[in-house]
């Protein structure tokens, strides 16, 4: 039983072992479904020279944006990095290396990383600057480029509900990159809104099976809305 109890008591414990120079995969799309408290803990620890893979890099003062304030990120894989003045400034000053990665390729890099597939061919980016320097192969008359998988020393994930076995479900479109990051961390840490009793989650509805998850913690979330649009 104890071996399957992934719950940790504090955020300090949740991010225990993170060190300078590590690679961190983060779930979230914009500010939706981001592991806000795990990010805050990385900030608190002050680890530097991190490589981060995430679709976006938060906004000024929220999400991964807070890790820019103390220059903790030296390299980032992301598909879109607008909405963030500090990020722009660090990019223009060459203080942060940005590896712009098409969104689907980024998702597949994480999926492949977690699934033990070291690289894959995709037509995405062929004939564009993204394909430059990458191996090209032709299959059935079409060109594809070779993209390598991503694995993180840590994966930080935001779920909705989990049980102590580490089974996780996500809520609405807060799913996004979270289940992919969850598979590809050497240490996968999931923070959720609610830890429920084993058996409460319907087994066939689990998004992330507990085998991928090392640590679970329950938190409270601000869930900031980036673009509030309402009807009428």
């Amino acid at each position: 039983m104890a071996g399957f109890d992934k719950r940790v008591a504090s955020y300090a414990e949740a991010m225990e072992g993170i060190e300078d120079g590590m690679t961190v995969l983060a779930g979230g799309f914009g500010l939706c479904g981001i592991p806000e408290n795990l990010i805050a803990e990385i900030k608190r620890r002050g680890v530097k020279n991190l490589t981060v893979a995430s679709n976006n890099c938060g906004v000024d003062g929220f999400g991964l944006g807070v890790l820019l304030e103390d220059r903790q990120i030296s390299r980032i894989f992301a598909s879109y990095v607008g909405e963030n003045a500090l990020f722009e400034q660090q990019m223009l000053n060459d203080e942060i290396e940005v590896i712009l990665t098409p969104q689907g390729t980024l998702a597949e890099k994480m999926r492949a990383g977690g699934a033990g597939i070291p690289a894959f061919y995709t037509a995405t980016g062929y004939g564009t600057p993204i394909g430059e320097g990458k191996e090209v192969r032709e299959f059935n008359g079409r060109h594809y480029i070779l993209e390598e998988a991503l694995v993180g020393d840590f994966a930080i994930v935001k779920g909705w509900k989990a049980d102590r076995y580490g089974n996780v479900v996500y809520r609405h479109t807060a799913q996004n990159f979270n289940p992919l990051a969850a598979t590809a961390g050497k240490i996968t840490v999931v923070e959720v809104e609610e830890i429920v009793e084993p058996g409460e989650l319907e087994p066939s509805q689990i998004h992330t099976p507990g085998i991928y998850v090392d640590r679970i913690i329950q938190g409270t979330f601000e869930k900031r809305i980036e673009k509030r649009t309402v009807h009428g």
Partner: protein, 221 residues
């Protein structure tokens, strides 16, 4: 008269077919959702992981966990499905989306598209655009025909870094509806009151002009 943004959306909407799964990009493409013809049902795909995007929420429905790829708060319509980003791009890359509509800075007569970066200006990223153009068989590009300074955006060869190579087959501009075929733009329709001569003048790429180029018609809605 050049088409308004709303007219461009209206014209694109005529290409929708009953049962289509459609991905709409940011800007004019988003407006297409407002002009789905009566009697047909389409399912909107949003690449952050939503198939069956609905209207914007009411204040009561507003939910931080429910957004579209433009990061706007939205709802899910009945029959919607929500999934991961990898699943979402499997649909896109695998060619399961019936129609993709997106904007561009430039397209050329070989079907190349440039839509994500202008060298010397700040680069914010391509988001899902490269996957969308690589995965879709059926893409409509919406754009203005020429820049504010009158420079054509329909070129012999794109000058900006590409989003995708040889992938665009239809373009709707504020002046015309064109197909790209065999290394040329084929003029199919012109905006009301816009002459073929004006389109010739503002098209830098090779342009094929059929004997009859009908004028688009719009009814007030």
């Amino acid at each position: 008269m050049a088409l308004t943004r709303e007219q461009m959306a209206q014209r694109v909407a005529r290409e929708l077919e009953d049962g289509f799964y459609v991905n709409l990009g940011i800007g004019i493409p988003t407006l297409v959702a407002n002009y789905v013809p009566k009697g047909i049902d389409v399912m909107l795909q949003s690449e952050n992981g939503l198939l069956g995007m609905g209207r914007f929420p009411t204040e009561e429905e507003l939910d931080a966990d429910m957004i579209n790829a433009g990061k706007q708060t939205v709802t899910a319509r009945p029959g919607a499905a929500i999934f991961s980003s990898a699943e979402s791009f499997a649909m896109i890359r695998g060619g399961h989306v019936d129609l993709t509509v997106l904007g561009a800075f430039e397209v050329d007569q070989e079907g190349n598209i440039a839509s994500w970066m202008v060298p010397g200006k700040l680069i914010k990223g391509m988001g899902g655009a490269m996957d969308l153009v690589a995965g879709a068989e059926n893409i409509i590009c919406t754009m203005t025909h020429a820049s504010k300074h009158g420079e054509s955006k329909l070129l012999e060869k794109c000058t900006l870094p590409l989003t995708g190579a040889g992938c665009i087959n239809r373009v709707l501009t504020d002046l015309a509806y064109l197909e790209i075929k065999d290394g040329a733009f084929v003029l199919k329709e012109r905006a009301p009151g816009v002459s073929v001569e004006e389109i010739i003048e503002k098209t830098a790429g090779k342009l094929v002009i059929p004997d009859h180029v009908p004028e688009m018609t719009f009814v007030e809605e």
